[in-house]
């Protein structure tokens, strides 16, 4: 079978320069494809339409970097570290076209996409101002209908198959059989992709995959490319690999409060670094990373 291994910079070169629909697998401060996103910012990708059920630091960085045209999501924060102030400010100032959903309604759009069906019914937007806003914007992804099977009111949600989905996982082989340890909230998103890119902590042998096939949650049929990036989610957590870096996230939650400080951050940590290794060295290198390596029992 085809070897789908790519280097990070090559993979990111495949993302269109000027606009595509794209989704990321991060959730708040966990399993965010930060290395991929930082490289997208270095390569100056623009006009992205981002779809993400719960936003992570991945999307916040791209919004702050001015790479985003529209954002469809249900929520997101840095958990107790702080809010996504780059996202909030972009919404307040009308700099991005925001489409707000409930968690499940957006998840079900990905589910429909992953199954190749045109739409899926759901009730949880009914009565909400998220639904009113989508109607005001003439959003073609929603229709309020009466189901012919139970005569009940539903919002029919249009399927979603993003051009590109990027997730970060613990392991995959070169064919793209992906192992995710811990909860796999990003499974339907990954399977809905036209092209799925996965960054992994380590590329493992196909022999390992065959011996642990019950741990594979996304088989290679869905995967377009596999990119090995150790600590590729830093400073966010990867279960059983490393904890989030609370010191760095505390710092980030200060500098994301205004555009000037955030731009200085980008200049220093993203534009000012050539690649992810360089980024990790800048953020403290091995002496920092060794402090957050996960305990194999607790997973953090």
């Amino acid at each position: 079978m085809k070897n789908k291994r790519l280097e990070l910079s090559e993979a990111v070169k495949e993302v269109p320069e000027n606009g595509c629909s794209i989704s990321f697998g991060g959730f708040a401060i966990t399993r965010n494809p930060i290395a991929f996103v930082n490289e997208m910012i270095r390569q100056k990708k623009k006009s992205l339409d981002i779809y993400q059920v719960i936003a992570g630091m991945d999307t916040e960085l791209l919004v702050g970097a001015g790479s985003v045209k529209s954002l469809s999501y249900s929520a997101g924060s840095l958990d107790r570290f702080g809010r996504f102030e780059r996202i909030n400010e972009a919404i307040n100032k009308g700099e991005i076209d925001v489409r707000e959903y409930t968690l499940l309604s957006l998840e079900m759009r990905f589910l429909a996409g992953s199954m190749g069906i045109p739409f899926i019914p759901n009730k949880s937007l009914l009565g909400t101002d998220m639904l009113n806003d989508l109607i005001v914007k003439n959003d073609d992804a929603i229709r309020i209908e009466i189901s012919p099977f139970d005569n009940e009111r539903y919002v029919y949600l249009k399927q979603l198959q993003p051009d590109i989905v990027v997730i970060h996982a613990q392991y995959a082989d070169e064919k793209g059989n992906i192992i995710i340890e811990g909860p796999s909230w990003d499974l339907e998103v990954a399977k809905s992709a036209k092209k799925l890119y996965v960054t992994v902590e380590k590329i493992v042998s196909s022999e390992y995959i065959k011996r642990h096939c019950e741990k594979v949650v996304i088989p290679s049929v869905f995967t377009h490319a596999v990119i090995e990036v150790p600590f590729g989610a830093f400073p966010t957590a990867v279960y059983k690999a490393y904890d989030y870096d609370s010191e760095f996230l505390t710092y980030y939650a200060k500098i994301n409060k205004n555009a000037g400080d955030f731009n200085n951050y980008l200049n220093e940590y993203v534009y000012g670094t050539r690649n992810h290794d360089d980024f990790l060295n800048k953020t403290g290198g091995f002496s920092r990373l060794k402090l957050i390596i996960a305990d194999p029992v607790s997973g953090y």
Partner: protein, 255 residues
């Protein structure tokens, strides 16, 4: 049987919330007081409680509080890992969740919640957004809202309706097409609110030592408090000791 310990507002709220849970309930929780209340219920009267986090974690046995449900600390020793679909779709939407906990920026007199944005003179100010809250408000059978008792938070009408409670009262929730909700309660640091059969808000109990006047002054809608209003039951020694020694020893949430 009240406690000999001097307790905090948050401890009283956690204890009140835990008593809302019944043995065998399936409950969707988030970090903070909901997590604390669920752990307390499980350690006392509801050992068969099933705790569900939207991120895809079922029945963890947390030993260290974390920063949010994305924190692997909150996944420790769980029964099952799944996806959003497994928790919010196949469990919650399916109708298997008994209790949902909610919080927010504002709650109105019909129990509707805003967790999205506040309208100010300078324009809209966006916060974290709805996440799974609106799904929980839609599909859970009983809702427990925990909110700080302030005039700007308990309002006549929310600035943005994120999660539907009783919508506009009467049978408006049902007419909109939402599934049946059996009960909504709101726990604040001053009192517990409930709703009459025609979905009018009322005070169920006021917390020990709280004056009627302070409730009226801190509530953004008109509220009637009968003379014979009941007092919220105080925590027991057992509950206080469990909270302080086992559930939140760092006192991150119980104050």
């Amino acid at each position: 049987m009240s406690t000999k310990y001097k307790y905090t507002n948050n401890e009283l709220m956690a204890v009140s919330a835990s008593r809302f849970l019944r043995d065998g309930d399936n409950v969707v929780v988030g970090l903070g007081l909901p997590q604390i209340a669920s752990c307390l219920a499980k350690a006392t009267h509801a050992p068969n409680l099933n705790i569900i986090y939207e991120i895809g974690v079922i029945n963890p046995e947390v030993k260290e509080m974390g920063v949010g449900i994305a924190d692997p600390r909150l996944w420790y020793n769980c029964d099952h890992f799944t996806s959003f679909l497994g928790t919010m779709g196949q469990t919650l939407q399916r109708g298997m969740v008994d209790v949902g906990f909610l919080g927010g920026l504002q709650v109105d007199k019909f129990g509707n919640i805003n967790s999205t944005l506040i309208k100010t003179d300078l324009g809209k100010r966006h916060f974290n957004g709805s996440g799974g809250a609106a799904d929980i408000a839609c599909f859970a059978k009983r809702l427990l809202v925990i909110v700080k008792h302030e005039k700007r938070k308990l309002v006549e009408k929310v600035d943005f309706l994120t999660s539907v409670g009783w919508l506009n009262g009467g049978n408006s929730r049902q007419k909109e097409g939402l599934p049946v909700c059996e009960e909504i309660k709101i726990i604040t640091n001053l009192c517990v609110f409930a709703f009459s059969n025609d979905r009018q808000i009322k005070i169920e109990t006021i917390h020990p030592g709280v004056s009627k006047q302070s409730i009226i002054e801190n509530t953004g809608f008109e509220i009637d408090i009968p003379d014979n209003i009941a007092i919220t039951s105080e925590p027991t020694d057992e509950e206080i000791l469990l909270l302080r020694n086992n559930i939140d020893p760092m006192r991150m949430y119980i104050g």
